[in-house]
């Protein structure tokens, strides 16, 4: 084990694992959760730009009727890649970036439970992301939509390798997501600082916890569905092949058993971020904390009971349709609880309208609109009308862009100073917010009207006399406005690197533990592991006068009189004053060493994926390549398990 801040003795010790503190190699072998968080975030932002460009191309094609910029095949490829990219390569990894960077800091840990597994997750994610996008290089892009319904995905109807890129890419991405989710579950269960009981955890940590449970239970189902599809395409099995007796509807059941929890995997982290930001900028604690926690858990449970509302038009029968309609409407209840709690958090607070606060308010308002159109779809007769129209496109962009992206961008503005030590410019941030807000509503608002007017989704062009011309023009102008907003964001980021204002440890007067340590935090995070005695520990330490009835009640320690105020403070955050004290356990900060094996294992999955991709063309080369890839993974696992420690 390396000992941080001990410069000299390294030369004398046996060095068996990489030790470079800076440079490219140090990033490749890093197992520091903060660096891995930065890697996730950077990668996700690059894919956000790619997915955004795909969307802009589509909006340009649809700007006027009978446009010929794109052909139907190109358009199919673009909407498939846009959806898949935004879900698996943008919103999920951007959430994972915050899980990585913020959760260990919020629970007072020095790293995640399994740092090398964490690095493995990132490199495997990158492998999957590249495999998915290799279709652009091979000029055969997946083109069956992000849910790739059977049986159009069978080899007979999609003979090109495009669908294989989708299957293999998603399978590898699933491995990465599962590994990461298992890691975060163990981290949150096991590595909380002393006194941080479950009901004292910050809400973002809670949503990470619940999201990880959803990933752990939902991703196996898509893995099996992809596995079955891969077998159908490569080995002639009959899971979804009607000629062999298979039923394409099985794919829909499996896909949506994963797919609906996935929707909450995408939105819960953003909800957690908003629940962190709104209290800080309203200058009062989160309203109804226990109800927020129960609502998240309730949404997660219900998310497994609603999958067939994506399938009302397949003819499920009256009983199944009624059940799924009812359970879908029920999910609006915990969602409503959250929305009213956010509003109540703002109510009566002294609101500071900084960019993160604006983004969060944007989240709450736009998500509410998307939620309302979601409840409309819960009604089977209405859903039958809306199926495959632009109304559905409008709905899910209001929850996933108006919701998830606004929330995640709020998180970027909120935690950027903690990560880089510099503040993003608030004026430019507000400009970005308003451009986004206007552009977003111009783009997706009119799609409600287009959908009601009968415009189907996924058509590459439309005739001029349908009454769709004006709203399509408006939507395209809105899309360009969104593009401009992102350019403003890139400018803001670049400006910050050049002459950003220094943030200090606690620029927002924060409530949670990550603001008690320097920005950017040292590798070991906490010199002394803090001891937690309340919810919002840092806030109460700074503002003991605010330890009001409301707060004591929220921690369940209702005592009358002044003496309980002392109980609510957190004496143990003053690092170093009693640094050698026995009660704090280990003052020598031992951090695990970097490792070569996680990126090697990720590379192994990449090679194995390439093998599967060429399987339809050449059997032996494919077997060889897959074998080499899996062998690399196996060797990496052995190397990893038997790896010595430096020193």
């Amino acid at each position: 084990m390396a000992t941080i801040a001990v410069p000299s003795p390294i030369a004398e010790r046996r060095v068996l694992r990489p030790i470079a503190p800076t440079g490219v190699w140090s990033w490749i072998t890093t197992i520091d959760h903060k660096r891995i968080g930065v890697l996730y975030g950077t990668t996700a932002f690059i894919f956000f730009l790619i997915g955004g460009l795909e969307a802009l191309l589509m909006r340009t094609q649809l700007i006027r009727p009978n446009n010929t910029l794109l052909g139907p095949d190109q358009f199919n490829g673009l909407f498939t890649m846009h959806g898949t990219t935004m879900i698996f390569l943008v919103v999920m990894p951007l959430s994972a970036a915050f899980f990585n960077y913020v959760v260990p800091l919020q629970i007072g840990a020095r790293d995640v439970a399994f740092p090398r597994l964490n690095a493995f997750s990132y490199w495997t994610f990158l492998s999957g992301a590249i495999l998915l996008n290799l279709g652009f290089v091979a000029q055969t892009v997946p083109d069956n939509g992000w849910f790739s319904y059977a049986n159009i995905t069978e080899r007979a109807f999609s003979p090109s390798a495009g669908q294989d890129f989708w299957v293999v890419g998603l399978q590898v991405l699933g491995v990465a997501s599962l590994a990461a989710a298992l890691n975060f579950l163990v981290t949150i269960v096991q590595l909380r600082a002393p006194g941080m009981s479950l009901m004292r955890m910050p809400l973002f940590t809670w949503t990470t916890f619940i999201t990880s449970i959803l990933i752990v239970l939902a991703f196996p189902v898509i893995a099996i569905a992809l596995f079955e599809l891969m077998f159908d395409r490569l080995f002639g099995t009959n899971f979804f092949n009607t000629i062999g007796g298979g039923d394409p509807i099985l794919w829909q059941h499996l896909f949506w058993t994963f797919g609906h929890p996935e929707v909450y995997i995408l939105i819960l982290p953003a909800m957690g971020i908003v629940s962190e930001i709104l209290p800080v900028f309203s200058r009062k604690p989160l309203f109804g904390y226990p109800f927020m926690v129960y609502a998240v858990a309730g949404i997660a449970f219900l998310s497994f009971t609603v999958w067939a509302h994506h399938m009302f038009t397949t003819g499920l029968g009256a009983i199944a349709t009624s059940f799924f309609a009812a359970s879908t409407m029920l999910i609006a209840v915990p969602t409503g609880v959250k929305i009213f709690n956010w509003i109540s958090t703002i109510h009566g607070g002294s609101l500071k309208l900084t960019t993160p606060a604006l983004m969060s308010i944007g989240f709450v308002s736009m998500f509410t609109i998307g939620g309302l159109s979601g409840v409309m779809h819960a009604s089977p007769p209405i859903d039958t009308q809306h199926q495959d129209t632009y109304f559905v496109v409008a709905h899910f962009h209001y929850v996933l862009f108006g919701g998830a992206i606004f929330g995640l961008f709020g998180g970027i503005y909120y935690w950027w100073p903690k990560i880089t030590g510099r503040l993003l410019d608030d004026g430019i941030g507000k400009l970005q917010f308003w451009l986004m807000m206007i552009g977003f509503n111009l783009t997706f608002g009119p799609m409600h009207f287009l959908g009601i007017d009968g415009m189907p989704r996924r058509i590459y062009t439309y005739p001029a006399n349908m009454g769709w011309d004006m709203w399509n023009l408006v939507a395209s102008i809105g899309a360009y406005t969104l593009g401009l907003a992102i350019l403003v964001m890139i400018f803001n980021i670049a400006k910050t690197f050049i002459n950003g204002e220094r943030a200090g440890a606690d620029p927002w007067d924060g409530m949670t533990l990550e603001w008690t340590i320097p920005s950017p935090p040292p590798a070991y995070n906490f010199a002394v592991i803090p001891e937690v005695h309340s919810r919002d520990p840092f806030w109460l330490q700074k503002h003991p006068e605010l330890a009001s009835h409301e707060l004591t009640e929220s921690t369940g320690e209702i005592t009358i009189g002044a003496q309980h105020v002392g109980d609510l403070g957190i004496p143990a955050v003053h690092a170093g004053q009693d640094g050698g004290h026995e009660a704090h356990g280990d003052v020598h900060v031992h951090m695990p060493d970097p490792s070569y094996w996680p990126p090697i294992a990720g590379l192994g999955f990449f090679i194995a994926g390439l093998g599967v991709l060429i399987a339809s063309a050449t059997t032996y080369a494919a077997l060889g390549l897959t074998g080499i890839g899996l062998l690399t993974v196996l060797v990496a696992i052995y190397g990893w398990s038997l790896e010595p420690v430096n020193g």
Binding site: R13, L182, L217, T237, N238
Partner: protein, 209 residues
């Protein structure tokens, strides 16, 4: 109070002697919690595959159907071997916990050997089914049967590799009483795979169509 942000330089530490096992919030070992969580996830893997089997069960448009080919006494014997391997696994864990490395090695090998008997039986059974006209692409029966049982067989095979790796470590003297957790975690996985076989054997072989 803001001064808390300035952390003092960390005291240079003597090279640490202890292992990676830290104090945890629950008092449980991290790796053990990871294995339990993974097994929860694995339930969903098998759940999706078993569901795929049940969806088509009895609606096969093929001859022979899986149930016409099953030789239940034969498969019962290999299932018995697999279940007995769980007993050997328990004895291996008990051996390392009391520091009896000789019996640890014996029982690890026994567990892996019984697993190999199961896998050998499965390969033989699959070959027979192929000869009688059911393979991976024969209707939905062949497809779902082979993929479900094959997925389980892959689990058993990975478990055997794991057990033999532990045996190699034990032979080299790298596995001792203080590392009994390594055997315990492998055991968790092994027992899980056995329990899944009880479910698959019941649903696929024993229940009449």
């Amino acid at each position: 109070m803001r001064s808390v942000a300035a952390a003092p330089p960390i005291t240079p530490a003597a090279p640490p002697a202890h292992t990676e096992e830290h104090r945890t919030s629950t008092g449980l070992n991290n790796r053990k919690v990871l294995m339990w969580t993974f097994l929860g996830s694995d339930c969903m893997f098998f759940g999706a595959l078993i569901a795929s089997y049940i969806v088509y069960r009895g609606k096969w448009q093929q001859t022979p159907t899986p149930n016409e080919l099953f030789d239940i006494p034969y498969t019962s014997v290999s299932a018995f071997a697999l279940l007995m391997s769980s007993l050997a696994m328990v004895l291996a864990l008990a051996a390392i916990q009391r520091g009896d490395l000789k019996r640890l090695k014996i029982w690890l090998l026994t567990t892996a050997g019984l697993g190999l008997i199961f896998i050998g039986g499965q390969i033989y059974e699959f070959t027979g089914f192929g000869a009688e006209g059911m393979n991976l692409s024969t209707g939905t029966g062949g497809t779902t049967f082979f993929v479900l049982t094959g997925f389980h067989g892959t689990h058993v095979s990975l478990g055997i590799i794991w057990l033999l790796s532990l045996y190699t470590l034990a032979r080299r003297g790298a596995l001792h009483q203080g590392r009994s957790l390594d055997v315990e975690i492998a055991g968790l996985y092994w027992h899980f795979v056995d329990i899944v076989w009880i479910i698959i054997f019941t649903v696929v072989y024993l229940l009449p169509v």
